[in-house]
Symmetry: C2
Subunit: 624 residues, 2 copies
């Protein structure tokens, strides 16, 4: 898709030229068919690349080869094609496939973020919000500053005749502080890594994209003038405001959608409904960007709000449609981004590769990541211990050593950095862009390629059922209602007749085998009873949708007892991180407060059926 | 989406300028954020327009206002915004939203065509293939030539000082011979018009896009030299070859997909599966275009083949995902195209509006449509009568008067014409483009606005259940397996708990009420028995998938007895139209031959479970 855009862009330039100067009509004759032709081939190449990458990832999964990851494959296949294109005569295709951040930000990123928000396991996310925010804000800031200083000093030594003002160096640091959510998370999904670690890394890698974007744009505002400490605090101020407003924009759009669904009968026109929900989500992203806010944050929280409220006002068809559409678009975008990064390595003509700078930066990001992860982890553990003592409760360590190491290892940089780097200024900007691109690709290959091994080395708990990968969940939904039900309730021909069904069934039963048995309707209601003793208002659950949505999450919650018990610490670390004065109040207070507010104010207002309001475990941030 | 592309294109032009001339780095400083900002706003406007259009169409449907159609609303809202943008200072947004056919052909058209092919009711389509092809090929050709002559003569009179060579006039005629599938079909869907008429108009309007594209490109090959009769026959030859090859490309890709699904276990990785099927379909389109073939034809038949074979090898999740994704993308594209046409009326700066030419053309398309529809209808009726006499069977008229009138009325021109017109050459090309744009918008507003009234005036049978709008079908699938099953088999809380379900349920039961009762599993098998006397090999159906997919189509088949009985005529008209020598052989021969071939060769090879092979009524072109 991107390819055709670029292609078309080029062609448009050509056409502009013609029309501006009342160009020879003969050009117009050939243009249309030529443009058709060029863009068709460019698109075809892209599509074949995507098919290749997806097929390889299928092959890897079938062969249970988890060391090599599909993103790595995508990057390499991209590099290969890039090399071929580079050697080809003529710059046409080459121009057509060079990285352009406008398309990246407007077409490739949104589906990924939206899907993240939509598939997010809300309970875990809000359990660990404190830790996540600490790493996302403080961590990214530290990492950017450290890397900035390293590069600045390196340039200052003048071994390569680089002239990089400090602000530019900071911006450079910011671009390389955005970690990549895609690779690491899909590996974690494959391994079903301990949900707490998963959630922390997930949250950090999503949010620090936003952080680094805002930081980068802040640095861009002093064109080369030296930054003072006031500027620093301004920057932080700007950032906090931006973040809050973006969050609000997203949440408001999500709530609006829920209200519209509730108070209109649009859900009877289901295809309209699906389109409108899709459009609302995108609107939040572009509105936020248009207002110089962070579209990523808006879209993420729009997705969360949609899933938390609007989802339960949707028609069944739209619930399934939105899930499937978001997932598919996200997967295509993800694969495409990495192919694209690989391509750019060779097709970006104006890049200047400075080997030593690249090496220094590569070392620099390791140092900066180290400097960001470990001190903050120690801080969090300390606060956690203090709080634990204050509560006189024995709690496990918030972030054990192996988690810290994994957090460090999860610091591969993503395409957001490359996209940001396009905005770098100054005479050495091309060298910096090249460096960012190479370093990002390196980190993805090195860290991404070794993550699975690292998980084994650190002996981190894997094989834990997490709901974040929701294909299973959707299979359960469709499966329970479709092939599975037919198969269970005696339509064997139905399930044997349809090839696809036969394929789904074993997988479903696997899913159920892996999961705690409560996935099947009846046992799940049993599995609810212990919960409902904790939450009396949940005893009202007698609703199949509950049984569709929840068993996995309950089995999750039980499967993550440790993290549950440490959530108080998670939330507290937010509190202590953000407003230490409130250290006295316990996390449970906040949790219970929001919970009650959500249960007794928000849901009754936003949701359709009262029965519905008691049917969403994701809504409960803290389960003490 | 288009908006950002165009936007980005402009911005890219700017960036090109910078980079080509080693532009001042200061430009680079502002560019990124500026580009972000501009494209965000452009996109936001677009999205809001789409939301507006969709919401209006929702409102219209709720208020049961069927005179005004959503496409008309889209065009008007587009015109409104276009007017506002035109009055705004600065050309930025204005440039950003001017029509560009490259994006139209590469991004907007494919989803619509693919969805048409995928949702196509294959039985009806192949029942009436003869009539459809006659109108699509001969009809479009006649209409293009007639309109071409009219415009050529008008220009020849020189009242407006137009100099239009005959070939250009023919090309112009071709652009305005592509009828629009979107508006008329959605109106027909709303009214559940007699499936035979629906199918004929559907098939014609899809295929004549392809015809007029090929015709147009053929005319483009003589740059202004006068065309001879040889050229004419060359043109026809080129067209037939193109059409056949394109059809084969599409079919081959579809079959390939079916085989890959059958022989790989990719359906266990369902999200990969969905992406790959999507990508294969697009690949057929772009490959076909890249080879100077007709992508539309390829994609249409790729969609048909996918649905006919691959669909039954897919996992349940992918079956649902592809349907939902194609539908949603198609709907967004459709609405967007019309908004876009409206916008272009005012934002296309270089258009030259010549009132009298517009009037002449507007009259011309009516005359040409008339000249195409009525003689051919008479021909078809005549052949039909001859065949009927040959068979000594009493059959009703193939195309009664009111059908002919409706066919004439259904000749509103579509966006394909506008997209093609961009390729018009010559000094007066801007005048011609303007004319095409205005005429297209006019026809959509006038004919589209009056179709529903026309249906009443002509007293055409409406309220017939057709399966082509497959939301019902999908609801039936999801519904049957989901809320509906739960509701029927005693999970009332489930259905009452979830707002969306409550919305789905009545609709489903409506659907069932509207349909012949055989939609519910058990009766459907009864409804099969009469059929199975006709097709002994179908007696093997005992498979729920049959009961999901077929009852509607069977009820359709029964509901369209007249057309069934007249299909022999339909097919025969193909035979007599294409190869009169074969008039001796009866259509049933052909039908039965393909049917057997499909049943006993293709499906066993392509499909997964033998049980599957006997479970697709769409596969049977002619049911005597």
């Amino acid at each position: 898709m991107l390819s055709v855009i670029e292609t078309a862009a080029k062609l448009l330039i050509k056409r502009e030229g013609d029309t501006d100067f009342e160009g020879a009509p003969d050009d117009d004759v050939n243009d249309p068919s030529q443009q058709e032709l060029y863009s068709s081939w460019a698109l075809l190449i892209l599509i074949l690349l995507l098919i290749g990458a997806l097929w390889t990832s299928y092959y890897l999964q079938v062969r249970k080869i988890q060391a090599i990851h599909e993103t790595v494959v995508s990057i390499f296949s991209g590099m290969l094609i890039g090399l071929i294109i580079r050697t080809l005569p003529g710059h046409y295709i080459q121009d057509a496939v060079s990285f352009n951040y406008t398309y990246f930000f407007n077409m490739l990123l949104p589906p990924i973020i939206l899907n993240c928000g939509y598939e997010l396991h809300q309970a875990n996310f809000f359990h660990n919000i404190g830790t996540i925010l600490t790493f996302a804000f403080a961590g990214t800031f530290v990492s950017a500053v450290v890397l900035g200083c390293i590069v600045y000093i390196w340039a200052f030594l003048g071994l390569e005749g680089l002239k990089i003002p400090f602000v530019t160096a900071l911006g450079f640091g910011a671009t390389l502080s955005a970690t990549d959510p895609v690779t690491i998370l899909s590996i974690f999904n494959a391994y079903k890594v301990d949900p707490k670690l998963y959630t922390i890394i997930f949250g950090e890698s999503i949010l620090n994209d936003a952080v680094s974007i805002v930081m980068f744009e802040t640095t861009q505002q002093f064109h080369g003038d030296s930054a003072t400490f006031t500027d620093l605090f301004n920057g932080i101020g700007i950032f906090l405001v931006t973040f809050t407003i973006s969050l609000l924009i997203g949440a408001i759009v999500g709530v609006m959608t829920a209200l519209i669904l509730k108070h209109s009968s649009i859900r009877q026109f289901q295809s309209l409904e699906t389109c409108i929900i899709l459009l609302f989500a995108y609107a939040s992203y572009f509105f936020s960007n248009g207002c110089h806010m962070s579209g990523i944050v808006s879209l993420l929280f729009c997705g969360i709000t949609l899933k938390h409220y609007a989802y339960f006002n949707m028609s069944r068809r739209t619930q399934i449609a939105t899930k499937l559409i978001f997932q598919t678009l996200a997967q295509l975008s993800e694969n495409f981004i990495f192919i694209y990064l690989g391509l750019s390595m060779f097709t970006e003509v104006k890049l200047v590769y400075k080997p030593t700078l690249i090496i220094v930066t590569a070392l620099g990001i390791c140092i900066s990541r180290w400097a960001a992860v470990f001190p903050l982890s120690k801080l969090l553990n300390f606060i956690h211990k203090v709080r634990a003592r204050a509560l006189n409760r024995p709690v496990p360590e918030e972030l054990p050593k192996e988690y810290q190491m994994m957090l460090f290892w999860a610091g591969l940089r993503g395409a957001v950095g490359v996209a940001l780097a396009a905005g770098l200024e100054g005479e050495d900007s091309n060298a910096l862009r090249a460096t960012v691109l190479v370093v990002v690709v390196l980190t993805v290959i090195v860290f991404g390629g070794t993550t699975s091994r690292m998980l084994e080395i650190l002996g981190i708990q894997t094989g834990v059922e997490t709901e974040v990968d929701s294909d299973d969940e959707l299979d359960v939904e469709i499966g329970r209602k479709g092939p599975l039900i037919n198969a269970n309730y005696g339509f064997p021909e139905g399930s044997s007749g349809q090839g696809g069904r036969r394929a789904t069934l074993p997988r479903l039963s696997d899913g159920k085998a892996r999961r705690s048995p409560d996935t099947s309707p009846k046992p799940s209601s049993n599995s609810l009873s212990p919960e409902s003793t904790v939450f009396p208002h949940r005893s009202s659950i007698g609703d199949t949708s509950v049984e569709i949505e929840h068993p996995p999450s309950f089995s999750r919650t039980t499967s993550m007892e440790p993290s549950v018990s440490s959530n108080s610490g998670g939330s507290s670390s937010l509190i202590s991180g953000a407003l230490p004065s409130l250290l006295s109040r316990t996390a449970e207070d906040h949790v219970r407060w929001f919970q009650n507010f959500d249960e007794h104010v928000l849901k009754p207002v936003l949701l359709d059926a009262p029965a519905e309001t008691s049917s969403q475990p994701p809504s409960r941030p803290g389960t003490p």
